[in-house]
């Protein structure tokens, strides 16, 4: 019997019991939907981080007071790091900048402060204002939509100029060009010189609600660059090949400046893109397993439901099986018929699940967080549901195939 004939019979049988088939598939659909949604969330997160790193510059690293991956493991390491590590200073910055041979650009930044921004009677609260050197625009690959970032001259002269996120510009300057306009940050007047391209929302947090001002201006207007305004450096290497060497050079220079002995721990932290992806993989390795395991259980439950219904179906159709056998169906023909029915049923469930997951993904992407549905996840889900179909169909199909034709023909159904 040809495959296409078997498939036709299978689809006809499923179609004949539409409601039952739909109810049977509920578990499968929920399982696949959850499975694919979780995978697309995780992949979306991975893609997001990769893009973030690409945005920062895959070949850039930062030097800061703490190493978040080493120092923030538990309360003991935090306490130890707080005793050991000292704030970075502009003298540290100059020290590295003067001596380094492998670093292409070294920028300095200070952590931001939520501040009130005004223009005429427009007031914005809790806008994140931070200070930076002029070269950080290049190091971080800032995507400037309108105007420009501030220059070295403006930075050195502690000019009151502001580079703002897209939200700030649209809210304070609903009409007309914001460039050159005057805004008030904490009651002091600044000139708006540039607007960044829209970045959207991640984890429900808007990414376009920030202002960057020159580091010196920040220190003057906000206070010394310590604690909540802690200073940190960002750097790029001269070539991709010497990236790790540049990181080691920065570490060596910092240790030399801090006069650390060979057995002493770093009293500063260096964060590389590898460390970020490494952390992501560590966290998500575990999350991934758990997040996959739960929908997988739903999938198994779905498979058991299909097996149960297939067993009922075989019992119901005993007479049909007897008839088919009397007309010349061999064991394999009957086996294939019921196996195909189970696999087709399960795969339909998988396809509906993928479709639902795609819709869920679209909604999540629009409202909350970028998701990414890969063709690999789609094919994987379909293969998994088809496989579940085989597992759940084999026992009922075998039961049907080995029915005695005489007994089967005599059945009451």
């Amino acid at each position: 019997m040809k495959l296409i004939e078997i498939l036709k019979v299978a689809i006809a049988a499923i179609w004949a019991h539409k409601l039952r088939s739909a109810l049977t598939l509920l578990g499968m659909i929920v399982g696949v939907t959850a499975f694919v949604t979780v995978v697309s969330l995780i992949q979306g997160f991975n893609v997001y981080i990769d893009e973030k790193i690409a945005g920062i510059g895959a070949k850039s690293f930062s030097v800061q007071r703490f190493n978040p991956f080493e120092d923030f493991k538990d309360t003991d390491t935090i306490a130890a790091a707080q005793r050991r590590n000292k704030e970075l200073t502009m003298q540290d910055y100059d020290f590295i900048k003067e001596r380094s041979a492998l670093i292409a650009k070294l920028g300095a930044k200070a952590r931001g402060t939520p501040s009130q921004i005004k223009r005429n009677d427009q007031v914005l609260d809790d806008v994140f204002v931070s200070g930076a050197t002029a070269n950080t625009a290049d190091i971080e690959n800032r995507n400037i939509d309108n105007g420009r970032f501030f220059t070295d001259t403006e930075a050195d002269g502690a000019a009151r100029v502001a580079y703002v996120g897209a939200d700030i510009a649209t809210k304070l300057f609903p009409a007309g060009n914001p460039i050159g306009g005057e805004i008030e940050i904490r009651g002091l007047p600044y000139r708006l010189i540039g607007v960044e391209a829209v970045k959207g929302t991640v984890f429900g947090i808007p990414q376009d609600n920030f202002i960057v001002i020159p580091l010196k201006t920040y220190e003057l207007d906000f206070g010394p660059l310590v604690r909540q305004r802690s200073l940190y450096f960002t750097a790029t290497s001269k070539t991709d090949e010497t990236f790790n060497d540049a990181v080691e050079e920065a570490r060596y220079l910092m240790r030399a400046r801090r006069k650390l002995g060979p057995n002493e721990k770093d009293n500063f932290g260096i964060v590389t893109p590898d460390a970020i992806t490494g952390l992501r993989d560590r966290i998500f390795g575990t999350v991934f397993i758990v997040a996959i395991a739960v929908p997988f259980i739903a999938l198994v439950v779905g498979a058991i439901v299909i097996m149960n219904i297939m067993l009922v179906s075989v019992t119901e159709r005993t007479k049909e099986i007897g008839l088919r056998k009397s007309l010349g169906a061999r064991k394999m023909d009957i086996l294939k018929q019921f196996l195909f029915e189970a696999v087709t049923l399960a795969t339909i469930g998988g396809a509906v699940g993928v479709l639902l997951a795609w819709v869920v993904g679209k909604v999540v992407t629009a409202t909350f967080f970028p998701t990414y549905l890969s063709i690999f996840a789609i094919l994987g889900a379909l293969a998994a549901s088809g496989g579940m179909g085989i597992i759940s169909g084999i026992v009922p199909a075998w039961k049907a195939a080995r029915l005695d034709p005489i007994e089967a023909l005599r059945a009451d159904t």
Binding site: M1, K325, S326, L327, G328, D333, I406, L409
Partner: protein, 254 residues
Amino acid sequence: MTEATVATSPRTAIFGKPDLASADGKAEILIAMQNIWKTYDMGSEKVHALHGVSFEVHRGEYLAITGPSGSGKSTLMNLIGCLDTPSQGDYWLNGKNVSEMDDDELARIRNQEVGFVFQTFNLLARATALHNVELPLIYGGIPGARRHEMAKQALTEVDLVDRMMHRPNELSGGQRQRVAIARALVNHPSILLADEPTGALDTATSYDIMNLFEKLHEEGNTIILVTHEHDIAARAHRVISIRDGLIEKDEQIK
């Protein structure tokens, strides 16, 4: 080794493969039942449903097998229809020894050599008449277009081609049985095996169906009718009566 086998089953030596091209001018032998036993193992005791039945059927015969319930006629019918194999003895169907075949070979013989007609029609409820008739051809591996043509021809034979797109529930009892007969005929089997074909029909319809069998017989089909109704059996040309697992009477009535 060969001698030992012959010694333990002497009947093969006695009967053997029937001479198909009979010399006496009669039609060839289609069915040869040679000392057929059927024993069921009912746990503690063995029940003999058939004990040593032998007969021959020539091509083109119209035969009725009758007997009361429990006589063994259903068992015999299952054996003739290749749904089962005998415990002992040889069954030759169209020159092939069926008694030694495995399940898949039996399925193939059923598909090629036997056309079943059941008391309760046994049509697929959700399929059209045409599809029901096509069913044996599907298992016979006949391609779609040819299948369609053959099924249509079989439905023409039973005068139902205008209803071929109807489902069983849109047909009367007699029409359903005619679809079932078309299904039995479609593969041009050696024998048409009908199990109480009028058992679920009223008298008038029964006569229609019996007339159809008569017509099919006149066209050269070999028909075996299993029934416990004497007036139905009387329509056949030869009647074999079974009682207690043995042939009680085997008479040519026409």
